[in-house]
């Protein structure tokens, strides 16, 4: 097994995917975003359940989602979900794609790139109303 390992791969220390280095930090971030999104999901099912109480109760709780601070938290939520999704696809490619483990480090940069390309316009469109309410000239 060891004798068949190409020289270029032997230069890498063993266990670089999840132990130490970037691979470990993507894994740590995967856990943190996962736990955060799970707790939000919990609250979100509870607040949506208010549609069974009354239209007024639901509209009242949804009004908090439209406030500037919660609007900013929504951007954070979308950022967390998007990272979790993109890095999740990276994990699937590492596990099932033949070349996956070899290009796992390059795939981190793809994840970061796609995340930025989606989040920059995404943040703008998510916050148009808040930006307008806080800084806009319209009364």
């Amino acid at each position: 097994m060891a004798s068949k390992t190409p020289v270029s791969l032997r230069a890498l220390p063993i266990g670089t995917l999840y132990r130490g280095g970037e691979g470990m930090w993507t894994w740590v971030l995967q856990r943190i975003t996962g736990v955060s999104v799970f707790f939000f999901l919990f609250v979100h099912v509870l607040d949506t359940a208010l549609v069974r109480v009354s239209p007024e109760a639901y509209d009242l709780i949804i009004a908090t989602y439209k406030t500037p601070i919660v609007n900013l938290l929504e951007v954070g939520l979308v950022g967390a979900v998007l990272y979790h999704a993109l890095n999740g696809i990276r994990i699937i490619l590492i596990d099932f794609w033949k070349r996956g483990p070899r290009v796992q480090r390059q795939m981190i940069w793809v994840v970061a790139g796609v995340w930025l390309v989606v989040m920059i316009p995404g943040t703008y469109y998510m916050m148009i109303h808040t930006i307008d309410a806080l800084f806009g000239s319209t009364p």
Binding site: R31, G34, V35, V37, F38, L41, F42, V45, L46, T48, A49, V51, R52, S54, P55, E56, Y58, D59, I62, Y65, K66, N71, E74, L77, V78, V81, L82, A85, G88, I89, I91, I92, D95, F96, G122, Y125, M126, I128, H129
Partner: protein, 134 residues
Amino acid sequence: MSSSPLAAPRSGTRTKQRSNFELYGWLFMRISGIVLVVLVLGHLFIMNILDGGVQRINFAFVAGRWASPFWQVWDLSMLWLAMLHGGNGMRTIINDYAERNQTRFWLKMLLYVSTAFIIVLGTLVIFTFDPNLG
């Protein structure tokens, strides 16, 4: 069989077939993950960005959406897959970090009960929604 000193303590430890539960759990995370990428990112795009985003959401908006079986199935699949995917992730994290047997057991019980509660509640809300309420 052999005269190895390790033979005696080893024998009889694998009488029962080992469960493949963790393998199926690992596979479920990947399959549900791919489906959730579409369901959740689609949901976030529609709710937060499209056509005025969160500012346009109210009871009437929900009523309009759930009038369509397509969005009912979408939301129901998302609820079940996301709660099971998240619940299994939390189970893994509890197993990793809660070192005392008692702590691990009770944290997982709390997780299972609350996860089941949210799945049942969300399912009931989707199936019993009344657009003419109030």
